[in-house]
């Protein structure tokens, strides 16, 4: 991510509140519209929108709140998802499809099937996750605009 500010086409950071399921999807929908306007390939737009929606839902379900930052370069897009806790105890376990710590009321909505993180990884070209208990989790996803 060592890029100069000059190369950046667009950058935006938005907050996601804990428990706000009604708003989930708004950020992803705005990314989708913005990237379509920029003429980004529709398959990339779709992958990014799905990954960002999973991130929005995860922030609402599992965290104390957080933020999503999109950085658009001419050849690449980064999506950075940060939260303020509680952090993930075992990242390898959290990355396993089917593993979830979501509460019952969230499962009633049809979420919490343990698909979110693996789906983010599948939809992005690069995926990095770091987490510290008590301080929070950061996910960095990259989307290639070439090829």
């Amino acid at each position: 991510m060592e890029r100069t500010e000059k190369e950046t086409t667009y950058q935006e950071t938005r907050r996601v509140q804990k428990g706000d399921f009604a708003a989930a999807g708004q950020i992803s929908a705005s990314y989708k519209n913005m990237l379509k306007r920029l003429g980004v390939d529709s398959k990339v737009v779709r992958r990014l929108a799905i990954a960002s929606y999973e991130a929005e839902i995860n922030l609402a379900i599992h965290t104390l709140g957080g933020s999503m930052t999109i950085i658009v370069y001419p050849d690449h897009i980064f999506l950075v998802v940060e939260d303020t806790g509680p952090g993930i105890a075992d990242i390898a376990l959290a990355m396993q499809e089917g593993y979830s710590t979501a509460p019952e009321e969230v499962r009633m909505l049809g979420f919490g099937a343990g698909m979110g993180l693996p789906n983010m990884k599948r939809c992005s070209d690069t995926f990095e996750i770091t987490s510290e208990l008590g301080s929070g989790t950061t996910i960095r996803m990259g989307f290639n605009l070439l090829n």
Partner: protein, 111 residues
Amino acid sequence: MNVAKLMEPLELDLLTPETDLTREVTGGCVCDLLSFVMARGEAGMAWITVQTHLNVIAVASLHEFSCVIVAEGCAVEPETLAKAAEEGIPVLRSALSEYILSGRLYALGVR
């Protein structure tokens, strides 16, 4: 096959009169777990479900589904329908079960 052509065989009522029923139906999906739909959905699918909350429309819109079909005559919240109208996603409802609806959709040639 477009959404309008599903109305009679699937015994559907249109809950979002202002949406476009000429959207092409290129596949089907029967699932009440939004997490699975997020992971497995593909553009153009008709999604049969008994989930009716707002997030259904967010998922359908992100995947560019052709329509959402609510089974078993389930009640749909006005907020969901307002969001569907805003996003241009047709929401239709049938008294039939998910099983029967998917069978009829498949029989119509939607694979």
